[in-house]
């Protein structure tokens, strides 16, 4: 008996929507705790739905930016362009981008150090 493991497009979309809804719920929950005011279920659902739809707009924009730069892979620079409408947002994304780049550099250093010390160990054994 052959079983289909591929999800239909509709099922994939439903799962993604559910995943978004879940995280939106948790983010709202944190805000509820901090501000001691509750969100109605309807509101959380509306925020989740809006976020999902906004991703469509984001994705199309990102794709257009990458294509404009003659790339087929969307880069961090494309995301920064996406955040251009608000100065505060733009700064926030720029800072996050630098933070992530820093973390990447540090993790590369660590793995280089690890590799070098392993090599030295192996050398001394011989």
């Amino acid at each position: 008996m052959y079983r289909y493991f591929l999800l239909t497009k509709k099922e994939t979309r439903q799962r993604l929507k559910a995943a978004v809804h879940y995280t939106v719920g948790r983010l709202c929950q944190k805000i509820e705790e901090e501000h001691r005011r509750e969100f109605s279920r309807q509101t959380i659902a509306a925020i989740a739905e809006t976020t999902f739809r906004e991703c469509d707009i984001f994705a199309k924009d990102l794709e257009a930016f990458a294509r404009h730069a003659k790339r087929s892979t969307v880069s961090a620079e494309d995301v920064k362009l996406l955040a251009r409408r608000s100065r505060a947002l733009s700064n926030h994304i720029q800072n996050k981008s630098e933070e992530l780049a820093q973390e990447q550099r540090e993790s590369r250093k660590k793995s280089t150090v690890k590799r070098k010390s392993r090599e030295t160990e192996e050398e001394s054994r011989e």
Binding site: T12, R13, L16, A19, V20, T23, V24, R26, L27, C28, K30, I31, H35, R37, E38, F39, S40, Q42, T43, A46, I47, T50, T51, F52, E54, C55, D56, F58, A59, K60, L62, E63, A66, R67, S72, T73, V74, S75, A76, D78, V79, K80, L82, A83, R85, S86, L89, H92, I93, K96, S97, L100, A101, Q104
Partner: protein, 81 residues
Amino acid sequence: MAEKEEEVCFKKETVSKLLCSFFKEDKTRLGSDATLLMREMLKVFVQEAALRSLKQAEAEDCNQVEIEHFEKILPQLLLDF
């Protein structure tokens, strides 16, 4: 041992699948650094939506944040993003 506060955010895989599902062309890919940045972008979007709605509810002296509050702040939210 102090308990580390768990930071809520979207899963990297979710962000990636989500955005890729909306690309028009098959050949378009999402870079790893772009995925991480978009994860932050989406988190900020949700937080702004929630906080602005909450502020609206507070301004109207409502105990619960209702959909009307969200609807009022939605236009400016979309203009800012």
